[in-house]
Subunit: 363 residues, 2 copies
């Protein structure tokens, strides 16, 4: 065989080899491009950043073969329609709070946070190792999606108020922007809860269309400038002790992934979970100092407000359990974990925190 025919046949053989090898390569590492709509604007880099963390990790892990393109809320799909968009496969995924969908079913709140619920660690524990994942995915499955815990903000602040709240009576008729089931609790206390997207809160508060608004915590709230239009910054956001942010993926699209990509998605979500919490726990530390330094007045909700809200909350949960089978199924095991976890956390964890904080307060 001369050189020319060798090259020619080598070329042919090369094509043949490639053609034979391709299916196996394609199965194990196909090129996949997904679109993800975030529940948040790009300006809120920490919470929006959760989806970017997932996207980057999945791409890095798969050598760029599995690409998830992240879009801010509203660029493709507004947040309220994101879950439908994933169910309908308009986009493959959304990274958002499940409690934005309480209008469909209040059970959506449990996966993120419900009033006087779990703190961040307890919420993670209940979902990932305490049986929550299975219960939630059974429920989310009715909407054609699967979920991954992929972020947390920690206990949020209780909102910006234009006037001080000295007792429950001061809540009467007050227009308060609040998310999730917190609004239903506030309504039981006489307030008029408002559903307003993040970007519209500032002008509403400035004009006095609303009297108060809660958003997230110091870092995000400082970005939105609320301190300029409401002086009193209340805590704690008792309706959001440890809100989890979820990655929701179209179930059929998820199931069609190669196992290695499924594993990458799971690990990337855990990374986003860690990174978001850590970012908040660093950035809020700086932001609260900056806010207080600029004259913001920190206020703890008075005990009678907290106690009335606590009572109203568990009344609401019992009402929901009586009327909604989905709620009952997810809530009851959640409540059992909450009661037992509180007992344990009160021992070592809380005593450690409490003693350290007390020593600091003493100077």
């Amino acid at each position: 065989m001369d050189r020319r025919s060798f090259i020619k046949s080598a070329g042919l053989a090369g094509v043949g080899t490639a053609a034979l090898a391709a299916p196996a390569i394609a199965q194990s590492a196909p090129e996949i491009k997904w679109r993800l709509t975030s529940g948040f604007p790009k300006s809120l880099d920490t919470i929006y950043g959760g989806a970017e963390t997932i996207s980057k990790a999945v791409s890095d892990i798969t050598d760029g073969k599995f690409q998830i393109q992240v879009f801010p809320s509203g660029e493709l799909i507004p947040t309220p329609q994101a879950l439908d968009a994933v169910q309908n496969d308009t986009v493959e995924a959304t990274h958002t709070c499940s409690y934005y969908y309480v209008g469909k079913d209040p059970t959506f709140a449990i996966g993120t946070a419900i009033p006087f619920g779990l703190n961040a660690r307890q919420q993670n524990a209940w979902i990932t190792e305490g049986g929550g994942q299975q219960l939630l995915d059974e429920f989310y499955g009715q909407y054609g999606v699967v979920s991954f815990v992929a972020g947390n903000t920690g206990t949020q602040m209780g909102g910006w108020w234009r006037k001080e709240i000295k007792s429950v009576a001061d809540l009467s008729g007050v227009k308060f922007r609040i998310a999730g089931l917190g609004g239903r609790v506030m309504a039981k206390l006489g307030a008029a809860p408002q559903q307003i997207p993040g970007s519209d809160i500032y002008p509403a508060l400035e004009k006095g269309t609303i009297d108060a608004a809660e958003w997230v915590g110091p870092y995000d709230d400082e970005k939105l400038g609320f301190a300029q239009v409401a002086k009193y910054y209340y805590y704690p956001g008792f309706w959001e002790g440890g809100p989890a942010i979820h990655l929701f993926v179209n179930k059929a699209k998820y199931e069609a992934l190669p196992d290695s990509y499924k594993a990458a998605l799971k690990a990337a979500s855990a990374l986003a979970n860690d990174v978001m919490m850590a970012k908040y726990d660093v950035k809020n530390v700086t932001a609260i100092r900056s806010l207080v330094g600029s004259g913001v007045q920190l206020r703890r909700y008075p005990n009678d407000v907290l106690e009335a809200a606590y009572k109203a909350t568990f009344e609401l949960y019992d009402e929901l359990a009586a009327e909604n089978a989905n709620w009952k199924k997810v809530y009851e095991p959640w409540k059992k974990y909450r009661e037992e976890a509180y007992q344990w956390f009160r021992v070592a964890e809380y005593t450690f925190d409490s003693f350290g904080y007390t020593m600091q307060a003493k100077g």
Copy 2:
């Protein structure tokens, strides 16, 4: 060209193609086998399980190409020699507490936990987003390793005592098995700290060779059966508010990994970090109930013990800063984060926990 010569040349060409293609394939997804020595026995499934979580995730993500075989402490290498073994490349990795190596340098304690330090969330935050990772890796780099946070136990319990501790005076001469820098604080309070591997604690406590011993928390401690030989179970483990468990990897071996495997290792470590904390936060909840149900007496360390320990702790830190440049370099920014983080956590997070736990205690 007849069929025979085609096949023959195709075969040659095939070899040629493979030889040309191989380097690219090998670079992007080589078969790699590592050995990891855990700092823990297999019987402690939660903390030992951290390495298994990493191993499984990395294997799943890479379709089995990157294998990390996990060995229990002592099977290949005893825990005290594990760091040397990674540095010398006897094994590629260990999953362990950095504070087991305070004998080399007390600075090793900071990456895991130091007395009256950070809780689990704060420790994660400081390391991953607060500048800690860079400081720690600079220090660990002196030992030829890189680190990933890959697990946490939460605030540990304060140990099993054969007699009650009513004041600092009761610590005098007491032989107490304790890990990390906690021993140096206990020594300042008059106790005689003991370094004893986990498996030897039970017989030592039973025979009265030691008077008390701390290990981890309810779930692990129940497995080791300490309740049978010491009745009083103290809290909190003030020397371990949120101990991080690390994956340490030989630096040269890590740097030789393809980027995709580095990304897989990072995400798998985050997964282990989440899963271990969640497992403890579910299993301890059950174990503390079981222990108390079987007659274990829970006791909070008296305030005078905690206050004396707190004072001794910060004296120790100042001594270390004066004599050890590594300590000073890592400790000072850590301490700044601790002070500012405590201020923020006291606002929303602690008030949320505190109110919920108080309402539960009221019934």
